[in-house]
Amino acid sequence: MNMIKNIYIPSPHIIIDIIKETEIESTYKFKIDKSTFKHPSYGQFYEVSLPMIGEAPISVSNFEDDYVDLTIRKVGTLTNAIHCLKKGDVVYLRGPYGNSFPVDLLTDRHLVIAAGGCGLSPVRSVINYFYKNIEKLSKFEVLMGFKTINDLLFKYDIEKWEQKFKSLITLDQSCELWQGKPVGLITDYVGQVDFSDKDNMSVIIVGPPIMIKFTAEKFIASGIKKENIIVSLERNMSCGVGKCGHCKIDSTYICCDGPIFTYDQAERLID
């Protein structure tokens, strides 16, 4: 009986860096020892906790051999508490959980990523992967939408990305500093995507449920097959391992069958 593995025990990880992204979002860099802790894959999440405060699923916003980035927005008790932490403090992690973006299957394809708001966080590692391996794609385009200029995430990364591939940023609300740059919803800019090779195109869409729906519809209308559209869904995941039932939709447990689905799968999931 002592042999049963306790999948719920988190392990402590030290914050090695904190990058303030916006007023309410910061990226926390954790030191990860690959030999003792499982490394994530693109789009996976960790259950992040502070003892006596709480636990929540947070998707990996980037990773390298020796660290993992988690971009955390202040929305509740736990995330508020995390935002009070400093470099050197400890956060508990278990995971990584969920499936991942099939980066290998995207080889030689024309990839379009459309990310709305903090939806950019789970695809950031994918973008960074192809940034480093741009030759693996036939073409790469990224569309990003944010509410205001103050909500922009990963500015330091975007600057790099713009050098190598088309990285379009649109804001819902313009401002003086944004003069002459794209304004409006992401859906307004789907038309600017290069649809010359539709059958070889894959689209990744991440963001709020409404944004995913309308953006996907635009791509479908432009001739992209549903199975070539990949989305990452957000639900009230709690245990992360398919037991607690909070993230279940129909016969699907988002935490273990997802969070990444093709659009034809996702569209059949009715909450």
């Binding site: 999948i7 988190p10 006596m52 391992v241 398919g242 939709i249 059949r268």
Partner: protein, 365 residues
């Protein structure tokens, strides 16, 4: 091995069993009903025959023995994390009707086989649990176990019947299982009956050749939806679900009394007396109670009670089988506790029948 025994003999077996096991059975708690001067039946530790409520269905299922309502999963002391052990908990026998045995099997599927790995906390308690059957012949008012194919079970170490003999209790030991109760029973009776047949006048007249019966028919019958794939219109079919927006009050009793509801939430806290000491806790959750599907940031995926009713209905009689395979049964075992306990008189069996009828009528159109 089958035997008719007296109440005294039954209690003797109980005493011997209690040396190794905690025995849980339905117990009527006088005055513990929600309304004044009413009773409630729930599973508790028992030590003799008369502790047990043999005739009525328990208000709550026995699931909390394996899946406690509120369970500490970690203790925190400063930066130390401890997992509370359960070494001191004796192995457990649960005396259950067949629907509940089948219900626990459904929990096994979720906790042990769904997702990435086995659930540690469920498994370590589950390994201590053994089943005994309380014979159920007629079922009760709201039961529909026969429709759900959950009316029978052979997964028990021993079965008890109070229906075979006016004054004696009939016990059958499952020969297939190598159980402690088998040893106890053999030591008490098998030698006895061969040697002292003449002494034991009681036994000579008793027909020890009884059969344990199972419900073959219920008052309630449900017709399950006969579709491969739920058509998408049915998810938002207002004729089917809209009435529950108002009728359901989201109290969650259908979930808390259900033997197969397995959802839980995880809570952290620190003690008032020392903020450096606290715990992480697992507590039952209910898909009807607000906040179940609420995401951080305030978006609720199922806000109204009608969509929650639809979610639960499909969970119990469609999703589970779809996920775990045709050869499995549905999650719902038809124990009828949801119907017994709904304060608004919403009948789940009626919902299932309405759903099936709706699917058929729409197909024709």
């Amino acid at each position: 091995m089958k035997k008719n025994i007296t109440k005294e003999e039954f209690n003797k077996i109980f005493n011997l069993l209690s040396e190794y096991y905690n025995v849980y059975a339905p117990v009527k708690k006088k005055g513990d009903g929600a309304f004044s001067n009413t009773d409630i039946i729930y599973y508790e530790k028992v030590t003799n025959y008369d502790d047990i409520e043999w005739n009525e269905k328990s208000t709550y299922s026995p699931k909390d023995i394996i899946f406690p309502i509120s369970q500490t999963i970690m203790n925190f002391t400063y930066d130390q994390v401890y997992v509370p052990d359960i070494k001191s908990i004796k192995p457990i026998y649960i005396l259950m009707r067949p629907c509940d045995i089948n219900g626990i099997k459904r929990l096994d599927e979720i906790f042990l086989r769904n997702g990435v790995e086995e659930d540690f906390y469920y498994k370590r308690l589950r390994e201590k649990v053994f089943f005994a059957l309380i014979e159920c012949v007629d079922g009760f008012e709201n039961c529909f176990c026969v429709s759900m194919n959950a009316n029978k079970s052979s997964d028990w170490d021993f079965a008890i019947s109070n229906n075979k003999h006016q004054s004696l209790i009939s016990i059958e030991i499952n020969e297939v299982k190598n159980s402690k109760i088998k040893n106890i029973f053999e030591s008490l009776f098998s030698t006895n009956t061969t040697n002292n047949n003449s002494n034991n006048s009681n036994n000579s007249n008793n027909n020890d050749n009884f059969e344990i019966f199972y419900p073959e028919k219920n008052f309630k019958k449900v017709t399950l939806p006969n579709v491969e794939e739920m058509p998408s219109f049915i998810y938002t079919d207002s004729k089917l679900w809209d009435e529950y927006k108002e009728r359901c009050i989201a109290c969650g009793r259908c979930n808390t009394t259900c033997v197969t509801c397995s959802c839980f939430s995880t809570n952290d806290l620190h003690y008032d007396d020392n903020p450096n000491v606290g715990e992480r806790r697992r507590v039952w959750a209910s898909c009807h109670i607000p906040k179940f599907s609420l995401m951080a940031g305030g978006h609720d995926m199922r806000k109204d009670n009608a969509s929650r009713m639809r979610f639960k209905t499909f969970h119990k009689i469609y999703d589970y089988k779809k996920r775990f395979g045709e050869e499995k049964n549905h999650m719902c075992v038809g124990c009828g506790r949801c119907d017994d306990n709904c304060p608004e008189y919403i009948s789940f069996s009626t919902i299932i029948n309405k759903l099936s009828a709706r699917l058929i009528s729409k197909e024709k159109i």
